[in-house]
């Protein structure tokens, strides 16, 4: 049972990153291979700021900086890329990944750094006859809150409606008077802000290193593809699934653990070529 919750924790990180990829892909049709390094940058910014303002200050600043970075990325990278080939996108966002990793390595070095959880969440609680760190439950709660918040926003707000419309038919949406470039800037900012959020809350669980983004991004793409590429619900379900598979794999078949998510993805795509969410969203 404890293992299932640990799977949920990993799934939570996957969800927070995957949903950002889905948001960016939806509006810009750009696959952002640098998303994992945004997660990593978010973790380092939070680490740096936490020295002065504590964990929560680090969280707020990290999300804000990453969101601002998202606006710049949208304007100067994703918007021009939206008209380009997938190969160009791959090269550019991959290049961005190296730039960000190098920048972090230059500033903070390549050694592992650790971040303590905030005092408020550093305890353990009894659970299923043993104990479990409160902080891990906090991570799951954050992911659930984001999932619920995003779902409600997309479903019931005006802007959410424009986002859904623009991610299937940007031209028609623009014709109705929506400035889809401004909408994209907002949506990308939310996506990168969530990368900052997940980087921050990953800090106390994972050791910080410049390559921490590269390892999680593979599983994230597995989640996005398994979920059906542009489906938020699909990404949510797939993140939970891949989180479990990853974690149970590590516990029971460690030598196969890194392949299991890919195997699941292949299986899902064989059964449902358009992903879990199928044709719709």
């Amino acid at each position: 049972m404890i293992q299932v919750i640990n799977g949920l924790v990993y799934g939570s990180f996957l969800y927070l990153l995957a949903v950002g990829l889905v948001l960016i892909f939806g509006l810009r049709r750009v696959t952002n291979f640098a998303h994992g390094s945004l997660f990593m940058v978010g973790a380092y910014i939070a680490y740096a700021v936490a020295a002065y303002l504590g964990f929560w200050g680090g969280l707020v600043i990290s999300v804000m900086v990453l969101a601002a970075l998202g606006v710049l990325l949208d304007r100067f990278v994703f918007r021009p890329l939206a008209r380009e080939d997938a190969v160009v996108t791959l090269l550019v966002t991959f290049g961005l990944l190296f730039v960000l990793e190098d920048a972090v390595r230059t500033i903070w070095g390549k050694d592992y750094l650790t971040v303590p959880p905030p005092p408020l969440l550093s305890g353990v609680i009894p659970m299923f006859g043993s104990t479990f760190p409160v902080y891990r439950l906090f991570v799951v709660a954050v992911a659930l809150a984001v999932a619920a918040g995003l779902a409600l926003w997309l479903r019931y707000s005006k802007v959410g409606l424009y986002v859904r419309a623009a991610s299937v038919d940007p031209v028609t949406t623009g014709m109705q008077g929506v400035d889809t470039d401004r909408l994209s800037a907002l949506v990308v900012a939310i996506g990168t802000g969530l990368a900052g959020l997940s980087g921050t809350i990953a800090g106390p669980l994972l050791a910080l290193s410049p390559s921490m983004g590269a390892f999680i991004i593979i599983d994230c793409f597995v989640v996005v593809v398994t979920g059906g590429l542009s489906s938020f619900t699909g990404a949510f379900v797939a993140a939970l699934l891949i989180g479990q598979v990853h974690n149970l794999g590590i516990v029971y078949v460690p030598e196969l653990a890194s392949m299991l998510p890919l195997a699941i993805m292949t299986l899902v795509l064989l059964l449902r070529p358009r992903g879990l969410a199928g044709a719709g969203r």
């Binding site: 424009y162 419309a165 949406t173 109705q176 008077g177």
Partner: protein, 231 residues
């Protein structure tokens, strides 16, 4: 007062020039038609107005404004709503959501969800079903309803009769006459002569990306049109 004016426009897709020195105006209260065979550039006139085809020479004025660069939302914000060819109902959105999308431009006026549904009762009945699940005729009503939600001064319709059964086309004509009798000006792009005859008062005929004939509808007969349009 002119609502839409294309003044000696050359328009391109990439390097391919489609419109050649084309001039068209629609004034307030007018009902104007553009006729022409497939492929002569009728849709490109619309696309030039919404920033899909690039204007390299000449200007397009929306009301008083002559913007230097035309974006997808430019026309909508100047009170020009387009019912695009093929309707372009947004997949994944319900009928209600497609209508609300039409209100995105935020112009005030008589049209809202309730008044549009009073014009097309079927849209209220099917409000929660996906827009793309409806029949062609119903989707055309939805596309017109969505455009009305913008409370436009000018309604541009690109081949609205395409793919519709004759009785539905007749209904469409009645709706357009009703709308045209009110505050809304109409630019109707069509190959269906009877629909044009029922709705419009002035016409342009296009051929090879240019206007080759224009006039008032009284003077236009099926016979005189035959050389330009399949009737």
């Amino acid at each position: 007062m002119t609502l839409l004016k294309l003044d000696h426009v050359d328009a391109y897709y990439g390097e391919a020039q489609i419109l050649h020195d084309l001039s068209i105006t629609v004034g307030r209260g007018e009902r104007v038609a553009i006729l022409g065979r497939n492929g002569v550039g009728k849709t490109t006139v619309v696309n030039a107005c919404i920033g899909i085809a690039r204007v390299r020479r000449g200007t397009i004025s929306f009301g008083q404004k002559t913007p230097a660069s035309i974006r997808h939302f430019t026309a909508a914000r100047s009170g020009i709503a387009v019912v695009p060819q093929g309707r372009h109902i947004v997949p994944g959105l319900s009928v209600r959501e497609n209508l609300l999308l039409g209100a995105a431009v935020g112009r005030k006026g008589p049209w809202n969800f309730d008044s549009v549904c009073a014009l097309f009762p079927i849209l209220r009945e099917r409000a929660e079903t996906p827009g793309t699940a409806m029949s062609g005729g119903q989707q055309q009503m939805l596309a017109i309803g969505r455009a009305l939600m913008a409370n436009p001064d000018l309604l541009v319709l690109d081949e609205p009769s395409e793919g519709l059964a004759p009785v539905i086309v007749d209904e469409l004509g009645e709706t357009l006459i009703k709308l045209g009798a009110g505050e809304t000006s109409i630019l109707l792009i069509e190959q269906n002569f009877s629909l044009v005859h029922a709705v419009a008062e002035r016409y342009y005929v296009m051929s090879k990306g240019a206007v080759v004939e224009e006039g008032r509808l009284e003077g236009l007969t099926r016979e005189s049109l035959k050389k330009h349009v399949a009737v």
